[in-house]
Symmetry: D2
Subunit: 462 residues, 4 copies
């Protein structure tokens, strides 16, 4: 790498970008950045400008000589990049509204990275990441891709296994949140305990050990249902069944609530829906407020309000990961990377989210070994679903999409489940070129477009 790093952020117009800037500024001593390119698409140009302005003000306030570039031309940005981070959303908030609202309309969970919504997020995102990889192959063949576009695990699997880009690591903030909050509940400080994670993105478990080598997982479990139990704030805190968790002997991630408390989580989702707002719509409000704050010319640091969102720490994790690679730090982080036997009941070459050492050579996972049957059964099913989703996202094969839907435990199998699939396909037509012939047929059959779903929400001022 030449003097000074070139960092590119695809989806740079995200309101999370100031956190990323803060993370880079804090690490400037170890990460000699030369320039940062924020890339976004035309419809987000205004937002991108606001973000770029704040970002530059942050760097200037820190008095480091780093230039922030904003561009709509991805190729210009990628040329010669050292690290590329991805945090884009294909279709933006509008698409998210549909991901959540359409399942809700059919009595199913509306959630953006799990269930039907998560599958469609993958369907929209994977072809785009494929194009980014093609550009990178040409313009920055040695760059590292740090992906935190959701669904992070599936996107990373597509990048590594299907598009063949080995220098990639997938990130998520969920493990980090657990590591920061849980120790406080049982009388330890963050960093004093050793965390062992294994599973898939948004579907992992962990065990915890203290410095005397004693397992303290059981103690952590006692607090898992508390406000600071380690679950991200965007997940409804339906209490886990203590007997179930004690029997499993591992701490689930917050997203397991969708699976282990499916009934309560669905109820809550439907209630939110009836009350006239899903997460997407709440996010819309939060985003608008944040942007208003960012516009203030006097602001030159990450505002407090950003930390309260579900995605908090995401960007900091990304900065740490980049530094661990650049400085060959061998930092222990939980990331999405190739399994290599670390979870021995899953294929060697699939992507898992697992405690790893991050060095200049990338992520090397720590071996977890065998899983007890109940965890193994869940994991194997979820990984099989992910494989179907990715394959369908690449091929546009309707049958594979149906197979993925059938495996997904948050989608009710049968008539309504298929309707959700069909309506989401039509609703997201613009972002699903790979499914074009299928969507054509569905439209000819009169499948709902659900445009009114979004229109109605927007009308109500969202």
């Amino acid at each position: 790498m030449k003097e000074g790093l070139k960092i590119v952020t695809i989806g740079g117009g995200s309101t999370y970008t100031p956190e990323l800037m803060e993370g880079f500024i804090r690490r400037y001593g170890e990460l000699p950045i030369r320039e940062i390119w924020l890339v976004d698409i035309a419809p987000g140009e205004d937002k991108l400008k606001v973000i770029t302005g704040l970002a530059q003000r942050m760097w200037d306030a820190a008095s480091y000589d780093v230039k922030i570039h904003a561009t709509l031309d991805r190729c210009e940005a990628l040329s010669g990049a050292d690290f590329v981070t991805t945090q884009f959303r294909v279709g933006g908030l509008e698409a998210r509204i549909k991901d959540e609202r359409i399942p809700d309309l059919h009595g199913m969970l509306g959630q953006e990275t799990n269930g039907a919504g998560g599958i469609f997020k993958a369907f929209r995102t994977i072809p785009v990441i494929g194009q980014i990889i093609e550009d990178m192959r040409e313009l920055c063949p040695n760059a590292w891709l740090i992906n935190f576009t959701n669904p992070s695990g599936m996107v990373t699997e597509a990048v590594i296994r299907h598009f063949g880009w080995k220098r990639a690591i997938g990130l998520c903030n969920v493990p980090g949140i657990a590591e920061m909050r849980e120790p406080l509940n049982i009388g330890y400080k963050p960093g004093e305990l050793t965390y062992q994670f294994a599973g898939l993105n948004h579907f992992h478990w962990h065990r915890v050990f203290n410095a005397r080598g004693e397992e303290v997982t059981a103690q952590v479990l006692e607090h898992v249902n508390e406000k600071n139990g380690g679950t991200p704030v965007n997940i409804y805190m339906s209490p886990f069944d203590g007997d179930l968790l004690r029997s499993m002997g591992c701490v689930p991630c917050g997203y397991h609530r969708y699976y282990f408390n499916a009934e309560e989580m669905l109820e809550h989702s439907m209630e939110e829906f009836r009350r006239g707002g899903t997460r997407a719509e709440q996010m819309h409000r939060v985003e608008a407020e944040l942007l208003e704050i960012y516009r203030q010319p006097g602001l030159h640091e990450k505002p407090e309000q950003l930390s309260r969102r579900g995605g908090a720490y995401y960007s900091d994790t990304a900065c740490e990961c980049i530094s661990a690679i650049y400085n060959d730090k061998h930092t222990r982080m939980t990331v999405s990377t190739q399994n290599c036997g670390a979870i021995s009941c899953l294929p060697d070459d699939c992507i898992v989210e697992v405690s790893s050492l991050i060095s200049a050579a990338g992520a090397q996972p720590l071996a977890w070994g065998e899983m007890r049957p109940s965890m193994r059964g869940w994991l194997q099913m979820m990984k099989a679903m992910e494989e179907c989703v990715i394959e369908a996202a690449i091929t546009g094969d309707y049958g594979l999409a149906l197979e993925a839907f059938t495996l997904n435990p948050l989608i009710e199998n049968g008539r309504e489940g298929r309707r959700v699939l069909d309506e989401l396909l039509v609703a997201h037509e613009k972002y699903l070129p790979q499914f074009a012939p299928v969507i054509e047929k569905l439209k000819a059959q009169g499948v709902e477009t659900n445009d009114d779903v979004v229109r109605d929400l927007l009308k109500r001022g969202l």
Copy 2:
């Protein structure tokens, strides 16, 4: 084996026994039976007498010198047995009513071999089969156990892996029904096509080939939703999604409807429930009618009415299996046996239901090889669930039971799911000694006994 075989049927008072007799009579030329012992428990003594009477009349009419013994003393029967068949139901129809009604009461599928009901059938049955094995070890150490007590796969796994009885084969009539009916739908006669089955009991798939080696699975799939499509009559025929099946490229078994059409099957189950009758209650009526017929002293053959039940051909399959062992016939049958790699995504030592050759040395499975991801994901999850169920059935561990419930796709995870578990534990207290301390605690907490569920039904004349 000495001259003339001693056959023992545990649960001999079943109304299916005449079919078993018919099967043996038809094969007397190849299966030189000396005596048949029908074993049952005290509450079924009357029924046992009726059945024994008819059975003896059937043999006498065939003018073979075979003596039918009825006994309540299992040990007397097992002593020196050559083949032991098991077709008992622990708790009888009353327990089945609870297995079906209690999930229904909480809005979940009430079905006797799948969902919560199936799990409890295993909980009640596995300890009893364990005692039978103990007796066999002492009284007939070389006998073959032909199990068709449901859930047949899990019971067989308990027998072979946990109780260590290797001379055991599990049977089910579902594969046989497909082999008899499906060929007719596509212009072949039964026996002209080659069937390849793989999966678990009540959760298997098959592929079909004609005598020219051409795969005709796609043609079979075209008729899978027809009345004679191969699904047992006891399963509600909610039509399979053709696109899903074509994509999978295999014919599912009828029980897959519960999983792939969960919505419709649940609706139908709830409707039956509201109309005042589940399968158990219908069975009760059918049983009473059959018994009335069996009592007729002039009857000396299997009555026509028996064939119309869901379990049809079960017993014939058992007779054929016994003959294949006795005569070293190397017959191709689909049975529950040790995997040995036949389904390579499942552990070597678990029990699977797979096309096998039956010879004097037992069942040897034919290797199926890899499964496509969607089938693999389903199978691995279901097998993991089975492992939890069996382990819980043996240990009486409440946590394991919860883990099994969590994995079972027909049980809604969350508050209500746990309630179903608790109420079923209390409801079946009499048959669950291994769970005694757990049940004690639940009762102290005031968990429903649901005795009125059965009482109410019985009052209404069932």
Copy 3:
């Protein structure tokens, strides 16, 4: 398939062809052959004519209307073929002499399907079979390839996995010889016992059961060192260590002598070599004698002398396999086919030699399950060696060839081993186009051509 079958035999000029004819004639009732094409290469034209003459006389004597065609044009023959059998030797006897003599010269075992010789047979054969497959793809896309060109397992693996021709089965006569001879040693007739084989070509084990399901493997083992113990006549009968075999609990194949009695087999090979003759040279004499007999115009049946060779029954096995496919017979045979989990310690998609059912849909292996550690260790190493050999044969990669040599237990690792590799590469230059650059370099380094090895032998009238 249209009326009357077209059979093509590549390497039709082999002296084994009369046995093949006999097998087809005996099965004419079930295998309606229209024409048989014997294909060979120019240097074998004379021999081909002699064989074709005898073959036609044999069919005429049987008074069936089957026409035997001889051709040097493979494509003419393959066009529209139903079954293609392969029994060719690339390089003929001369190459075999080098395969055996050159290792001998360096104090290593000279044997044509094991050790260094076997590896080079694969190196010469695999590219040719690749070309045959290319022709078949165009000229007879539905034909079955029945391979009995050695090393049969590796050639079949190349055909199925690397060249992608799924309609292929590999054959060997070794399992059949065991099934015919061993029963007689322990008081049974051939066909009365059930054989269970698993392993790799020329490296498999079997267990044996009688019609009462009792394992009689131990009894078979008692006779394994006798003249009629089941070992092919071409293998020197150094006695197996009985304690070793009893501990393994399985009957090894005759070729295991090379591995388990490496010392004695090497001694014998060296002695033969010093006495002035290896197997190749003995074969040369036998071949010449046979051909003389075949020329007799009055001969119209397979002569007795043919049966006494090591390859006896090979061709009959091929006829039976073809009939099993054509007639969908579901015959139990031991063949080289895709593993599919049958031997669970080997990869699903590799080729193994295992008891299978042969039907119109091809070979389906019977699952053997786990191997005890000592058998597992041997098998996994031998399969890894095969993988290296095949990959090297296709790529011409010298490093891979070295890796294969290192794994082969019959090649001494070190300086001399590498010399054997280099000399064999140079000696077989004509048949190893894929290794051309490597051979060029070796020749420049002055590696021996060993042409005198053959010249010397030929001079002595071989």
Copy 4:
């Protein structure tokens, strides 16, 4: 752990003990040792006294208040121990002489941890370590066992899998030597490169990366045959075949020379033997010299001469490992520990030697993933051999011992191989109680005792 650690060293009379003392003294700041118990057996009492004296002088010179106890009573020492290190040799140098000489007498490699000698070292050692574990279970149930008794991998597998002591780690100095020497050959300092090891004890490979994440394995390979190439000094430096190593793409350990250069290593072993000395005999001389030095009352530090032995750094590795556990350091070390999928082609529960993180919770392996076929084949065979050896060591089963011999690539299979087995059994009778009936029979058959082998050597002043 209470204030101050109690360390126990079984085999404390070893001449390596001063190195261990030095390692502990150097780490006293982080490892607050209270007392060290050196345990040995009666015949070593004198040596133990000499060592204890020097050890105490070393601690006193460092002016730390640590008491060194010498005892022949293992139980007295183990009571309340925190860490137990094992460095004993069952049978001492005399047994080693037989391990090396008897194979040599039959023309096979005489080496103490590989080949026949290594197998017998395991046969003698495993029953003793079993007794130690029994004592530990009672006297120090929370102690960590740090094993560096060879064959370290098999002994550790016996400890963890068979005797069920999970708090155990196996050590070897070979990986550490590579890490210290190799970097210097290619322009780096020790510690600047990242090492990735995987395999079995004395049979592992490694890859090396620099701080920019670039793989430098190829560069390391260029120097593998140099004096400072990383091979321990006790191994004869027959040069590796560069083409072979480049093709494998990994650096083998020094012991691979025995396998990849079997011819040269055997020649060298035979030459040493003919010249009247094997390693054991050289060691005997070195030991005597060292002991003479240790006796000097003025000596109070580890003498220079010790560092020049093959086992150098062994003890320092042990101290570092103990400190990593005690201080929860998460140090990256290459140790023998449970596989847990780290090497995905080997069973989850076997013991492998692999880069791991050492913390208070023990060793957690880093996942290596798939192996290329040639490495996989070797590893799987060697692990299978280890399994047979361990099982035979525990059961005294002669057949298993034969199976192990058959798999071992350094033992020629056949008549002579078996003779080596038989003679070693008889020669080591005193230390092989588990094989008593077998040995009785062999002696009755007149198998050589080979006592003269040792007598002769001792006569010549060794």
